[in-house]
């Protein structure tokens, strides 16, 4: 973590008091300074006063829901990192979360430790690179280019064919560079189901990606296997407009 004198400021937005009353003290103990808002309208007002380093935003809320709050925030040019707390977890909702410019999302009911890990990962990324990858239309790493809107992957100037799932997997990996992503997390994020039996599916798709991207498991330039843990995108990811 950075050598900051003040702790990171987190704005926690959820209408469920039972959640915020437990989660806020937990995050405080993890070393964050936490402000709680009960809905999107309050959150938008507080963003200016508190100037949070990161917003944890529930999707389903009365009055102004998380999705609309996020949209208004981004429209106003505010790129404060946002972690969405999703309810449904369908692929459509996940795609929406990334499209609207969320930096990450977590399905309820999540483990609070997992939330802390995600918050730290996003803050680290923002601190290091400055630029948020979440809103980028095109992500690049060396001669690899991923056009998120057109759903195309270009390597050395040539478009390479990928299955939808392999492309979504690559997108998720590139949005979380230098982070070790477990097979379970990738399954949950990309496939939408994380049955333990299915972790093999991740390996199969990673192999497909490596073949297509001409990357080897032994001497990886892009996707590294972290033995016993999962995978990590090790290429440097840049935003191209």
């Amino acid at each position: 973590m950075g050598e900051k004198e003040r702790p990171w400021r987190i704005l926690l937005v959820d209408d469920e008091e039972a959640i915020t009353s437990h989660l806020a003290p937990f995050l405080e103990r993890a070393g964050f300074s936490v402000t709680v808002a009960a809905d999107g309208e309050v959150a938008l007002r507080l963003v200016e006063d508190v100037a949070p380093d990161l917003i944890v935003l529930d999707v389903l809320m009365p009055r102004l829901d998380g999705r609309e709050t996020l949209r208004r925030l981004r429209q106003a040019g505010d790129w404060t990192p946002v972690i969405l707390l999703t309810q449904v977890g369908t692929p459509a909702e996940r795609a929406m979360a990334l499209e609207e410019g969320a930096d990450d999302y977590l399905n309820k009911p999540f483990e609070p430790y997992e939330l802390v890990a995600r918050i730290r990962a996003v803050l680290r990324r923002v601190q290091r690179g400055g630029q948020s990858l979440a809103g980028a239309r095109r992500l690049c790493s060396g001669s690899l280019e991923l056009d998120r809107q057109a759903r195309r992957v270009i390597l050395d100037g040539c478009e390479i064919p990928l299955t939808t799932r392999a492309l979504t997997l690559l997108e998720y990996l590139m949005l979380h560079p230098d982070e070790v992503l477990s097979r379970e997390r990738l399954l949950d994020a990309v496939w939408g189901w994380d049955y333990p039996a299915a972790t093999r599916a991740v390996d199969t798709r990673i192999a497909e990606l490596r073949r297509a991207l001409d990357d080897s498991a032994e001497d990886p330039q892009l996707i590294e296997t972290v033995i016993g843990e999962g995978y990590r995108f090790i290429g440097r990811v840049e935003v191209r407009e």
Partner: protein, 299 residues
Amino acid sequence: MRRYWLTLLPLGLGLVLAALWQAGLWPNPILYLRVDVGTLLLLLGFLGSLVWVLSLALWTTAGRRGGEEAQSCFRREQADAHRRFIRRLDHEIKNPLTAIRAGLANLTDQGDSAILSSVRAQVDRLARLSADLRKLADLDTQPVEREPVDLSLLLTELVELAQERPEAAVRHLRLTLPQAPWPLPSVAGDRDLLFLALHNLVDNALKFSRPQDTIEIRAFEDGPAVVVEVADTGPGVSEDELPHLGEELYRGNMTRDVEGSGLGLALVQAIVARHQGTMVIRSRRGQGTVVSLRLPVAR
């Protein structure tokens, strides 16, 4: 039955022919038919019976078809309502579970205890159940990939994986794939979902059979479909339990002691349905069970 107009066809034909003859294109002689009353009555009776039989046949097929339509419509509505219910239930369970997890995290921070970790384990179980139910309900609307899937390859991988399990060492696990005259054709579908479905079947066979039982996994081509069968010589299922096996959370009488979510077969059924396939289970108490999946061949 929307083709009632067909019954007017003979009349129309008659009209056209009459018009042609009346127009004088051909000679139009007058025919005198002589018939005795007895024969006339016989002919009329025969005609009446014919009309009656035909109309009866028409009515019943129309009625049956209408009934089937209404029934399948009713079933679809019921399935939709069921899915909506699961989504709502899941939604209502998620927030309290999130709150409980956060609360527990606060408690465990102040020193761990056996009781706390046991409560945590139960919360995890509930969370898992809610997630699994949810995913099952979502499977119907989720996009499914359509790529050619080589089931031979998939089954070989699956059996290799199963062989590594301790249960497999004490059971006879066999895979039979056709080689002649040609290997198994590909099916169109989502490789990962099909893997999951077949994995669940093999997993069930391993879980619910006893040591020394035989488990056969076989696949063959049958017309426009590939049939995959997972058969075991396990304890089998009684006839009255059979129809309920694909239901969510159903647990057979004899399997209460076996660990599982009770969602395995329901998931298989949902996956197979998304691939326009069918699942049939046959079983005999004391002899074993065979689950057959029919999946359409990729074109």
